[in-house]
Amino acid sequence: MFDQLDQIFVNALHWLVGFVPEVLRPLVTPLICISFILMVFPAFFSIITIFERKGIGRIQNRYGPNRVGIPFTKIRLAGFGQFLPDGLKMLTKEDIVPRAADKLVHFLAPVVMLIPVLLSYSVLPFGKNMTLADYDAGLLFFFAVGGAVEIAVFMAGWSSRNKYSLLGAMRAIAQMVSYEIPLILSAVSVVMIVGSLKLTDIIAHQNHYTFGIAHWHVFTPWGFIGFVLFFIASLAESNRTPFDLPEAESEIIAGYFTEYSGFKFALFFLGEYLGMFAIIGLGITLFLGGWTAPFSFLAWIPSWIWFFGKLTAIIFVFIWIRATLPRLRMDQLMNFAWKFMLPLALINILVAGIWHYMAADWQRWLVCGALIAGAYVLLGRGLMQNQKLGKRIYRYAE
């Protein structure tokens, strides 16, 4: 029965496609899948925004939104109806285009932002047998389309004719380009071990159990540090605190979308969040076993629940970080990428190689663990002590 539940969406798709003539099926199947993605993820986004606002509220010792429920009734739903007025407000607000703006580019930027993000969903496995396009080079495809987001950001910043927008766009380009390198390098270690760029293969490699514990990559030294690197880089890629420099509110107002309002702003917002979900989805696939269960006795839970559960959990960590940390400065951001993350990612590739060629016993744990820990501590200390940063002791006069 659980298998039925697991495959419910796949079966539903087959059932739906069954109504269509054989000739049209290759055309209709992706269309249904696309509409599924277009429905599910924006809905997920709207729920997450409420969760984010409520979560940050609680972290900041406030209530967060807790009033809006079902319209025209007194049911409040603890504020989870908030996304509806929020969305309506976004849609109905005046769309302001600066007089000096390059109107075509200004209009295109949010669209260019959203499309590659949506494209990247096509390769993500949301559950068992639930991948829209299971390319052999799925990982490459993901990174390739993900790179297009930078163009959109720059288009937005450039076309707005606003100094803050321009600064934000410059920052965004520099940041995204820099952090794509550790992002990809940390994924390379997985590719080395698995030997495939196909995302379903990567999941299959993690989908077996020893003593009831899954063989997720994050449970190995190289996988753990790879996951940490991937996680930090994905924070930067999705412009989240502490890497939210492109839209640093206290410095450059709203960065590249300072001059956007109404629906276009909503598209940017949506694109940013969907991009974040996609990159977390990829991280889950690479390191956290995708849709597999962590323990064998939990394997009966449907795979798509596992995927969305892990996605939500990581998003909560993102929200938690966002509510905690201040933001880095531009040069520190670059230092961190090039002087800390990049060497560590390279060492991680080395460690992954060692892991692959050493015999599977405790010694390789020791060697790999020591290498990684040593590299982490040394690089971290170098980063801090280069600038003589540290705790201070103060004296009192008299």
Binding site: I59, Y63, W320, A323, T324, Y376, M384
Partner: protein, 217 residues
């Protein structure tokens, strides 16, 4: 180690996240329209005029001395004095304000008017839900809107009201005693020499006169 303090900081926020569900000390927000905080000690909002008894027109303590108008820092009080006189709480004929307006859109709730008032007639209200759609009409409080009975004052600021009642009672008693003395003196004066009557009249001024004395007496 790099990241150690960041993890500590995240532990603090996590503690606050869970703490906000359990500890009132952390979650200090009040769900306002449904839930209200009790009024705190000397809370002040905007001034009102106190009257004794039931009739706002008759019992109004204000004698239109215009000290508050003069001292008001943003000059939001506007007083027009009456031409005639009517008896005040001491029974003496006093002028009264024909118009007493306070523009509470200008008022800055500083309580100076309350402090300088020698007649305990203007006090601070605690009413704060005064928002209105009509900035020009509803925020200009006239005498009728400002006048509140003494019982209201006793309700919102019991301690202060008791103090001010005591002052009023003392003044009243003093005035009565003086009236009595004056009456007695008059009786005596009928019998005795004129000089003594003059001495009684010399004791006339009641209560230390305000520095900016009322313009009419």
């Amino acid at each position: 180690m790099l990241g150690e303090q960041i993890i500590k900081g995240m532990a603090v926020t996590a503690r606050n996240f869970f703490g906000s569900y359990f500890s009132k000390n952390r979650l200090t927000t009040v769900q306002y329209p449904e839930e209200r905080l009790p009024q705190k000690g000397n809370t002040r909002q905007f001034p009102f005029l106190v009257y004794d008894g039931d009739d706002a027109e008759k019992g109004l303590r204000c004698v239109a001395c215009q000290i508050c108008e003069k001292e008001c820092p943003p000059k939001c009080i506007y007083i027009v004095k009456s031409k005639d006189k009517k008896p005040d709480y001491k029974g003496q004929p006093q002028i009264y304000p024909l118009t007493f307006d306070i523009d509470i859109s200008v008022c800055m709730s500083c309580q100076i008017c309350v402090e300088v008032c020698p007649f305990e007639s203007i006090k601070m209200n605690t009413e704060f839900e005064l928002s209105t759609a009509d900035r020009f009409g509803d925020l200009l409080l006239t005498k009728e809107k400002l006048a509140k009975p003494n019982s209201y004052y006793q309700k919102i600021h019991p301690a202060d009201a008791a103090e001010s009642d005591a002052v009023i009672a003392a003044e009243k008693a003093k005035a009565e005693a003086k009236a009595k003395a004056a009456a007695e003196a008059k009786v005596k004066a009928d019998a005795e020499a004129k000089a003594k009557a003059a001495a009684a009249a010399a004791a006339a001024p009641i209560a230390p006169p305000p520095a900016n004395p009322p313009t009419t007496t």
